[in-house]
Symmetry: C2
Subunit: 198 residues, 2 copies
DNA sequence: CCCATTCCCTAGTGGTCGTTACAGAAAGAC
DNA sequence: GTCTTTCTGTAACGACCACTAGGGAATGGG
């Protein structure tokens, strides 16, 4: 197979540049982040960006794909590692309080905020679909616990999942509005009081 | 004082045009709504818009001021007309579920969504300040009920207010993501289970 | 060495952005 | 009617947008 590349080597580190693009899109959203913003934070010129990543939309898709596997993976991890839906949601919200306010990267969640007020319908729809898919998988996890008897039979999985999602989205915006980690952690704990008793 | 205007009369109805601008900003946000979008939906040319409303930012400020007194007034009304903080928050969330999904206007809340990913800091900050002021006044209302004994002394007004705000913001985004009035109403009811018992 | 390949940057492309200069049109004042 | 005032639309302004043509630079293969 291919061993060595033939031509002039790339003068920048592609994963690093991708991460810098992630930070820019995370901070300002898809639409508001211009290609010249990107070339500035990535430290490369526009033709290099287009050669390495395709157009702006393709770069954004790659950014989102990388984001959900790294910064945004805490939600999936919570459900993989916790034994119950309740513990999964509680941990997801608790970790969101920390992650959404952590120094070193923009506040809140890229998937939640980056395509709000976006005039490119495909981009808006792609993130919307991710959010609704996350909601559906939380709902499925809750439904399994209702069917197993872990949660009361009267529990409506759809409503409980939507409530968790709404709190998560609200926490993301409040993080962007300046809420502290402690304030969001308290919101997360308070929200769990809405769950049927453990 | 001034009785009749002297020059050529305006050929459009100013309040109607303002409402049409409101719909456009509500639908697409401040940044994404261009002046030519505005002139199209308002049915006037750019110089007429500038003469009647000033620049885009001034028009947006007037739109927001009118919005919070009309479409967005249900929240303030809830606290004015309900006897307790708990009833006020419950009614605010319940009415939001209806209003955020009502046909005839864009979904969700303009104050919550219109300045997300906005590259004009003054506009972003103006709506952020409104959101934080709303949070503070809900907190004050809750604190009064704690001090009067209506709510348990252990209640943290700041946390309960933030939770209500987070659910409201989450409901706004979920309305934009396609949630139905029934789904949001159920979320509103479920969220109130997090409150200390009435 | 020379060549093919691949990346680099400079300098643009046409299009849209928010905004405005300007001249004609429609009203009241006289 | 004539003047002043205020609104009207046409047609631009410079700045920025996403994107790319084209030519030089740096590598490996022969």
């Amino acid at each position: 197979m291919a061993t060595k590349q033939r031509g002039r080597p790339r003068s920048f580190d592609r994963p690093t540049a991708l991460e810098q693009a992630t930070m820019a899109f995370w901070e300002r959203g898809y639409e508001t982040t211009s290609v010249s913003d990107l070339t500035r934070v990535m430290g490369i010129s526009a033709p290099s960006l287009y050669a390495a990543f395709g157009d702006k939309r393709t770069l954004f898709e790659e950014v989102v794909a990388e984001y959900v596997l790294s910064h945004g993976a805490f939600g999936v991890r919570a459900f993989l590692e916790e034994p119950t839906a309740r513990a999964g949601v509680a941990r997801m919200l608790r970790e969101a309080a920390l992650h959404y306010t952590e120094p070193g990267h923009p506040r809140g969640c890229l998937v939640i905020s980056a395509a709000v007020n976006c005039s490119t319908p495909e981009v808006e729809e792609a993130l919307r679909a991710r959010r609704n898919a996350n909601l559906a998988s939380i709902e499925d996890r809750i439904r399994r616990d209702v069917e197993s008897g872990e949660l009361p039979a009267a529990t409506d999985p759809r409503v409980l999942a939507r409530l968790g999602g709404a709190v998560l989205q609200g926490m993301s915006q409040q993080a962007r509005d300046g809420a502290t980690a402690e304030e969001l952690a308290a919101v997360a704990e308070a929200a769990m009081l809405a769950w049927p008793p453990a």
